[in-house]
């Protein structure tokens, strides 16, 4: 946390992407979160992912609810569209925006309070409706803004900063997302950008609801011994099932792996996901298998990370509802409001 804005001074050889932008062009205002907050790392990962994918900032809409996590869209993509909605209501506002204009890339940023407590209903319906979006939950297991009470994702038996033991069962958003029909599901850790950045890139290029649960330690209230969402605990218990590499149609494929160790998934838009296997028996195309695997490993106290499930042929809400291709703001008045005669004809046809 700092009060000063980052100086704009740039070296002449700062890397630029295909659009000529530097990473700095994808940043937002200076963060006011606590120093060391995992959320800032996730913001940086989003900046990196958008830079790598050559995304034009004005093509992104970032939406959020309330909470530490939901403040973060102010700290990245300063030139993108944004909407800071009501607590837990990001999914419905985003769904409405997506219905009105399907040409934008939708990024929903939420937290464990915003999505697993007050907004769990909204979360569930966005997943099952198949809204084409990237849904990132910055999950730290506590209510940081109200001084560190357990949130709904806090593990049973974990300890608060003051030594209180959590007696409630946790909600596992990843299992819920799998169950509810998300077509791209991953889990990662804010302290591991090598894993997180490709996961976000894959999600941004995915057609359909993409959900990423990012464990993001709260340095102020949940980074102590006894916490299961501290930097140390997550590093010790992190079990990645695979490593993702996102390959765009324009890229040359240079990586080579021994046969059988690599799974290649071609997404709807032509981008390719290279999944390098880390867990021998893991199949990311098997939804039920994934749920079973997660439950089994979770019972052993492991935190399973990686791209857990992907269905590249999934359809999204627009194809379910057969909506019009063009954004509503480009259709024109005559098309949107064809007049009373057309209405009358329609009514007559239904009588």
């Amino acid at each position: 946390m700092t009060y000063l804005a980052k100086p704009r001074l740039l070296t002449a050889d700062a890397p630029r992407n295909a659009l000529g932008y530097t990473r700095r062009d994808y940043e937002g205002a200076i963060s006011t979160l606590c120093a060391g907050c995992g959320h800032d790392s996730i913001s940086a990962a989003i900046v990196q992912a958008c830079f790598d994918l050559d995304i034009e900032p004005h093509r992104v809409a970032k939406l959020s609810g309330i909470g530490c996590s939901s403040k973060t869209p102010d700290y990245f993509l300063g030139n993108s569209h944004g909407f800071n909605s009501v607590h837990g209501r990001m999914p419905s506002v985003l769904t409405g925006a997506a219905l009105a204009n399907r040409n934008l890339i939708y990024l929903g940023v939420s937290g464990d309070g915003d999505s697993a407590s007050i907004g769990i209903g909204q979360f569930a319906h966005a997943m099952r409706r198949g809204v084409n979006m990237t849904y990132i939950v910055e999950n730290n297991g506590v209510y940081g803004l109200t001084k560190g009470q357990f949130s709904a994702t806090a593990d049973k038996g974990s300890k608060s900063k003051r030594g209180v033991v959590n007696s409630d069962s946790p909600i596992d958003l990843v299992t819920l997302a799998l169950q509810l029909g998300a077509s791209y599901v991953g889990r990662s850790f804010s302290g591991d950008k090598e894993q997180l950045v490709p996961l976000i890139k894959g999600a941004l290029r995915h057609n359909g609801p993409a959900f990423i649960d990012v464990i993001s330690p709260c340095v102020t209230f949940n980074n102590h011994a006894g916490s299961t969402k501290s930097y140390d605990y997550v590093r010790e218990h992190n079990e990645a099932v695979n490593r993702v590499e996102v390959i765009l149609p324009r890229d040359k494929i240079e990586t080579s792996y021994p046969p059988g160790s690599l799974r290649r998934v071609v997404q709807h838009d032509g981008s390719i996901l290279h999944l390098r296997k880390l867990a021998e028996d893991y199949d990311p195309s098997d939804r039920i298998g994934a749920i079973n695997y997660l439950q089994g490993r979770q019972a052993l106290g492991e935190i399973v990370t990686g791209l857990l499930y992907v269905d590249s042929s999934a359809l999204d809400m627009h194809s379910h509802l057969n909506t019009v291709e063009k954004p509503l703001n480009q259709l024109g008045d005559a098309y949107l409001c064809p007049g009373s005669k057309v209405l009358e004809a329609l009514n007559t046809s239904l009588r």
Binding site: M1, D40, V219, N223
Partner: protein, 595 residues
């Protein structure tokens, strides 16, 4: 890579690029902060301790610090370090109370310094405060050496030289002017405990071409002519003047000629414009005064009409580089060029000359006519005799002469006390945290994004009408203050403590120049390819720290760090801290460590 040993005093010193580049290692960022705070006398004294002549150097220093300045790597131009030094000298209050006092009780050792230039005066200052009886001999009327005789008054007024030489005379240093030392043998016979030779490089190189002898009345050797101008023996020159040579002396010659009646003054150089030895700003100043610079022309003949100089004939050349990268100037074969002129000033180099040193007294000279010296102690083959400044290793600049004066003073002090000369007292280093509170540092860490300020100058008309009128007006305090803000405070070091780090990436994400990376260790060449921002300056160190929980290493590329302290502000555990590095270079009298 091996983890960086930040306890090695050179590591952090090298990060302070300006200070590292300064031969006298002046603590530049520290005095710039003092200027920013309006503490001009304080800033002056920091300079005075290191470089003895802040007012002089603030006007005419060769400023090796500025090309080295980090700001030049992240911005278009470096901080105007040199001219800020002048601000400290211009606006300070009386500093006499801050000056050291020579002890009343002398230590009985007598030191003779030959020549009253910057090297000798530095030796005199450093030794006088220790109780040595120092006597300086010079054949001129006043102290200052080449600073007074060769640098035009419109760049360096006499009053500045008088003031700063006066501070040294005030330390009970006897300066004998108008005394020419004709024999080192005789001087040594006077029983001095040590003799320091700081006689500079007093001979200007001549151009021995056809017509030189015949038209000698209007052909002048640059530094001699400058001295004659400085002392008022010459007050006019022909209307059309050609200056031969591309160094700073050539620039002083042409600008002086312009002020003494030269209307068509031109500089003609063998080399290309960029390869000229003159500092870029001196070339700019000359061109600003309407003096064209002609490149790739080799002087071949002085043309005359029965002894009256009429012009110079030049051959066109171009530069060719051999496989070793050495430059050869070869004729292009195009027809020669003749330029008409009334006077020629030859400024094609300077040479050392020691006509007063007998060659049979045990003092050896090398084949170039330079004394054989120990490069560190500056002791000659006659143990009692030391050299410094241009007299030691050939013509360089004032700040180098000062630095060598400090080293020679240390040697002379140790010599007189019977201590081994090769065991030198080390510089001492202080490293102090600047943290005052959560977002408070005891330095201004906000980075100015403003461009370099230009120094106000006199109007051309006014400047050219009076050769004694100082051309530059200097920064006023308001401009100076704005310029000080451009300093990046490179001496406030980023110090990393691995055992406190929780690897949250906060520093990596906030760093404005992306100079921090956490990654697996490797060899330096490999590591440089894996950093977050491209690392293309191998002259700048990588700061590597191990001992992290994930077994990775923290790698910081020092190249473009802005020292803004944002990494430390973002660090939740205080693993990063901003600590001010202050280097006290050793002066004579400091003790070498016992080993």
């Amino acid at each position: 890579m091996k983890p960086t040993d930040t306890n090695a005093p050179d590591y952090f010193h090298k990060v302070v690029d300006c200070q590292w580049a300064c031969p006298a290692h002046t603590p530049v960022p520290e005095y710039i902060r003092q200027i920013a705070a309006g503490q001009f006398a304080e800033a002056y004294m920091i300079n005075w301790r290191s470089n003895v002549f802040p007012g002089i150097l603030g006007r005419v220093c060769d400023r090796p610090c500025e090309p080295a300045c980090r700001r030049g790597r992240v911005d278009k131009e470096p901080v105007a370090i040199c001219r800020l030094k002048r601000v400290a000298a211009d606006y300070k209050e009386d500093i006499h109370e801050r000056l050291p006092v020579a002890p009343k009780q002398k230590n009985g050792k007598r030191i003779a310094c030959v020549g009253a230039g910057p090297a000798s005066l530095t030796v005199a200052r450093d030794l006088a405060v220790l109780g040595y009886e120092v006597t300086v001999f010079d054949d001129g009327k006043t102290a200052g050496g080449m600073m007074r005789s060769q640098i035009p008054k419109f760049r360096l007024p006499d009053s500045v030289i008088d003031e700063e030489c006066g501070y040294i005379e005030g330390l009970d240093v006897a300066i004998f002017q108008n005394r020419w030392i004709a024999s080192l043998r005789d001087l040594l016979a006077e029983d001095w405990d040590a003799v320091f030779v700081g006689t500079g490089a007093p001979r200007g190189r001549d151009a021995d071409l056809a017509g030189r002898r015949e038209s000698s009345a209007h052909i002048h050797v640059g530094i001699e002519w400058l001295a004659n101008v400085a002392f008022g023996h010459v007050s006019e020159i022909g209307r059309r003047v050609i200056v031969l040579g591309g160094g700073n002396t050539a620039m002083d010659c042409c600008r002086s000629a312009r002020r003494l009646g030269g209307e068509d003054v031109r500089v003609v150089v063998r080399s290309g414009f960029d390869e000229m030895k003159a500092s870029p700003w001196e070339k700019e100043d000359a061109m600003h005064e309407g003096i064209p610079i002609h490149n790739f022309l080799m002087h071949k003949e002085f043309l005359h009409d029965n002894g009256r100089l009429t012009g110079v004939r030049f051959e066109k050349v171009r530069a060719e580089y051999d496989e070793k990268g050495r430059r050869n100037l070869v004729p292009t074969g195009e027809p020669d060029i003749v330029m008409e002129c009334d006077d020629v000033l030859i400024a094609i180099g300077q040479e050392n000359a020691f006509p007063w040193i007998e060659r049979d007294i045990g003092l050896e000279f090398d084949k170039w006519g330079l004394p054989v010296l120990d490069p560190v102690t500056l002791q000659s083959t006659l143990p009692r005799v030391f050299f410094g400044g241009d007299a030691a290793f050939g013509p360089k600049n004032i700040i180098t002469a000062v630095a060598q004066g400090h080293e020679a003073a240390i040697s002379i002090d140790r010599f007189c006390r019977g201590r081994p000369l090769d065991k030198r007292p080390p510089a001492t280093v202080n490293l102090v945290s600047q943290k005052m509170g959560i977002h408070e540092w005891s330095y201004d860490n906000q980075i100015s994004e403003e461009a370099r300020r230009k120094v106000p100058v006199k109007s051309l008309e006014e400047a050219l009408s009076n050769i004694k009128a100082e051309f530059e007006l200097g920064f006023d305090p308001r401009l100076a203050c704005a310029e000080t803000e451009r300093c990046l405070n490179c001496d406030v070091q980023t110090v990393f403590t691995p055992k406190l780090c929780i690897e949250c990436d906060g520093c990596v994400d906030i760093c404005p120049t992306e100079c921090i990376t956490f990654t697996a260790n490797g060899e330096e060449d490999d590591l440089r390819t894996r950093l977050k921002a491209p690392s293309r300056n191998p002259d700048q160190a990588l700061y590597v720290a191990d001992g992290l929980k994930t077994q990775r290493v923290m790698v910081k590329d020092e190249n473009v760090c802005l020292h803004c302290g944002m990494c430390a502000e973002r660090c939740p555990t205080g693993a990063w801290d901003m600590q001010k590095f202050y280097l006290n270079t050793a002066l004579a009298g400091a003790e070498a460590p016992r080993t």
